[in-house]
Symmetry: C2
Subunit: 156 residues, 2 copies
């Protein structure tokens, strides 16, 4: 798949459908926002992005509940769900994306290995979270997550 | 200059000096956060980033004063200063970076051409803003801004 063509298609699909989007990303560190905003005209759909690297950022900026991070960990389905849902509501947009995972090379555990990532997508209708494991280097990891994000946007 | 080596040096300089950083970027769309977080260990210095693409995002998220945007425009020294200063205070970090400009290919005017960018850097000591014009394509524009951001961090 040509990632750049796909990216261009998805951004133009959003623009043509009049849909706005906001993103709260952790392990992808701004890459998803960066790639979307590489497409000329992206400002018509992309409103804002948040790179919530620390737990404090997730709590302070996107209102993720500290108890949820404590109970399930920052890399969890529940946190991805709150990132996606809350960023949509906070930003007053049609689609919210939330991403939390372990890009590596360190930070993995037997239960939560390097490459684990939860991607949440929230619309007025529903908020769903997908779990993936992309065991590759830090840079390809980000590209794999972007691929899935584009797929999820297309389906929703 | 090797941008990746420079990036690696600056991130490690920040880590070794125990300095934390937060970024509020507009026209670079998450690229600065993305590149910094490509360096393993970046989480020790990089706390959070904001991609404030719309004026509403600048106002709602980073508390840029609407009157300042109205008076000077979103692409202005004053807005870069508020982005840099406010993101530092809001994020409780040592260094705040604020970036606003016109990546193009559209959006330029005779007074504010495509490629114009204001980069602010705020520390406890001072907040300074630098003006540059990088007339190139959207992707090289982002790289040029990153180069200047790294220079400014090194100097401060």
């Amino acid at each position: 798949m040509d990632l750049n063509k796909n990216l261009n298609d998805v951004v133009n699909l959003l623009i043509n459908n009049g849909k706005t989007i906001a993103i709260a990303e952790s392990c992808t560190g701004g890459f998803i926002s960066h790639m979307i905003t590489n497409i000329p005209g992206a400002s018509k759909t992309f409103d804002r992005g948040f790179v919530c690297y620390s737990n404090e950022a997730k709590i302070d900026v996107i209102n993720v509940e500290p108890e949820v991070i404590k109970k399930f960990g920052a890399v969890s389905e529940e946190v991805a769900r709150q990132l996606a849902y809350n960023v949509r509501i906070l930003s007053n947009v049609d689609i919210g994306i939330g991403i939390t995972g372990i890009a590596g090379p360190t930070g993995g555990t037997p239960e939560k290995p390097v490459g684990l990532v939860y991607i949440g997508i929230s619309t007025e209708e529903d908020t769903i979270v997908e779990k993936n494991i992309f065991q590759t280097d830090r840079i390809n990891f980000k590209a794999k997550v972007l691929e899935r994000v584009l797929q999820l946007i297309k389906k929703n």
